[in-house]
Amino acid sequence: MTENIKKFYGEELSRKQISDGKITIVEHSPKVKYAWSCGEAMSRFLNELKEGKLIGRKCNKCNRILFPPRMFCEQCFKATNEWVYIKDTGRIMTYSISYVDTHARRIKKPILVGVIAMDGASKNMGIMHYFDEVKSDKIKIDMRVKAVWKRKEEREGAITDIKYFKPLGE
């Protein structure tokens, strides 16, 4: 708050005034729940994750391998043509070191989040995920990384079947 604010009339609103009901409010929480049909591409992708595999789709017109897979190519606007497995290694495109958690609380051990350009997929095709087994002052763009998977019996067909990516140490 700056000194300037004293020039204005009125009083500062406190959290207590709200909790004491001094300010009239009406509360409501929406109860919403969705179950999205995944369709062909996302379904196959998620089911392959259970097997510890990453799969993409190839477009025979632009020859790109789209990952995660989609049934149509957004550039050529046509159906994609074939399934292609890609590797679980790649290169860090960009990252952030997050010192704040989902609830905006400060955390001691920062979360390393980034996008990985995957080996075997085309340019700008990759996956967003966490990094671990790397110190925040050692992580860097273009670092080679590899997926660390959950144990098979723990996998459920979600991108969190990969726990995180760790440096390949090449």
Partner: protein, 386 residues
């Protein structure tokens, strides 16, 4: 500047209660792909602007606009969302072309409502949180609002439950000739009248069931349409209006939004006597009585006479004014934001003589009308001509 805007392509999926085989992106891709094939265009080169009609709460995404480009072919192109029914999107596309900025505009509307597990709760979220929603929280389903409206409409006009039931019979029968419809049936009015009372006087069969589906329109300026060597279906007039969000203050017996929207559209289309010019109409029938109330609001029959006319067969496929030849929302399914565009689709197909087994002979001018559903008092109208 282009003075005329035409429909040069349409694409659509079937309409059905569930579509587990496709994702919401894939259902949009299907309809878009068909529309571009129909128009003979490449969306990556030929389209100047793309419009999607969607409500974030139906979709389950915030800022749904961002999730649209891939499946419409609009990556790296002008794209926006109109948060309203498909006819509002059509009107926006129409206006974009009239500005002279755009030559070809794509309009998309879809429903993937089967992905939403809590339809009633999202509907409740559309009700005023201070004055009305507490009653919903006590247990009343929001559709009671439609029940109240039907009651008042019948009381003001003398329309009967039998006449409303006749709308259901007719529309579900029409849907038998529409391969895209999801709720076709051959029933009689006794079936409707004896169906479970839900929001009396509304019974189960008076209510259009929800459906998934997608409709895509390709609009073009007169010059662009000529280059595509098409005989477009021209948009002659459009209108849209809202009454009030105060449910207590609205006209319960009349559809004021439809009265205002249609007058705007008639004026634009230079129509003085709509009954003489409009050959057929697709009007909102989310609830059976709505078709009758809307027809009166549109000036296509006198107030209080729609019920009698439907009984006499005036709105049958071979009647003086065929209404909802597609099967309407009662026969096709309620596709929420896509329902207006589904109505526009049927009008275009009829005018193009592409309506298969339900083809109307000698029609030149048709009207599509939408209502945004409970609890709204908003809707749009578009008039199309060969």
């Amino acid at each position: 500047m282009s003075k005329k805007v035409g429909v040069v392509g349409v694409g659509y999926t079937g309409f059905s209660s569930v579509t587990p085989d496709v994702s919401w992106k894939e259902i949009m891709f299907q309809a878009a792909n068909r529309a571009y094939h129909d128009a003979g265009i490449d969306p990556r080169k030929d389209v100047d602007s793309f419009i999607t009609c969607a409500e974030d709460y139906w979709e389950g995404f915030s800022i749904f606009d961002e999730f649209v480009p891939d499946q419409l072919g609009s990556v790296l192109r002008p794209t926006c969302t109109v948060t309203a029914d498909g006819l509002y999107g059509l009107i926006n596309g129409y206006m974009q072309i009239l500005t002279g900025l755009m030559d070809i505009v794509v309009v998309e509307a879809h429903s993937k409502i089967s992905d939403l597990l809590t339809y009633n709760d999202v509907l409740s979220f559309a009700i005023d949180p201070v004055f009305n929603r507490p009653l919903i929280d006590l247990g009343a389903h929001p559709y009671y609002i439609a029940g109240m409206e039907m009651k008042r409409y019948m009381s003001e006009t003398g329309t009967t439950e039998e006449q409303c039931a006749e709308v259901v019979r007719k529309n579900k029968l029409n849907a038998m000739s529409n391969p895209s419809a999801g709720y076709e049936a051959k029933i009689n009015i006794e079936d409707v009248l004896s169906s479970e009372e839900l929001f009396a006087p509304l019974k189960r069969l008076d209510i259009s069931p929800l459906a998934d589906g997608c409709v895509v329109f390709v609009l073009a300026s007169e010059e662009a349409a000529k280059k595509l060597a098409h005989d477009p279906i021209w948009i002659k007039g459009v209108g849209w209006a809202s009454e009030t969000s105060w449910l207590e203050n609205k006209e319960w017996g009349r559809a004021v939004y439809a009265e205002l929207a249609s007058r705007q559209a008639y004026k634009m289309a230079n129509i003085t006597y709509p009954k003489k010019v409009i050959d057929f109409a697709e009007v909102d029938d989310k609830f059976s009585y709505k078709e009758l109330q809307h027809l009166e609001a549109l000036g296509l029959c006198r107030r209080g006479e729609a019920g009698k006319s439907v009984e006499e067969g005036a709105f049958d496929v071979d009647g003086v004014l065929p209404v909802n030849t597609s099967g309407g929302l009662l026969g096709v399914g309620n596709t929420l934001e896509a329902s207006g565009l589904q109505k526009g689709l049927e009008v275009v197909l009829q005018l193009r003589k592409d309506a298969g087994g339900r083809k109307l002979p000698d029609v030149e001018c048709g009207l599509a009308q939408s209502w945004r559903g409970v609890p709204t008092t908003s809707g749009a109208v578009a008039i199309f001509e060969v």
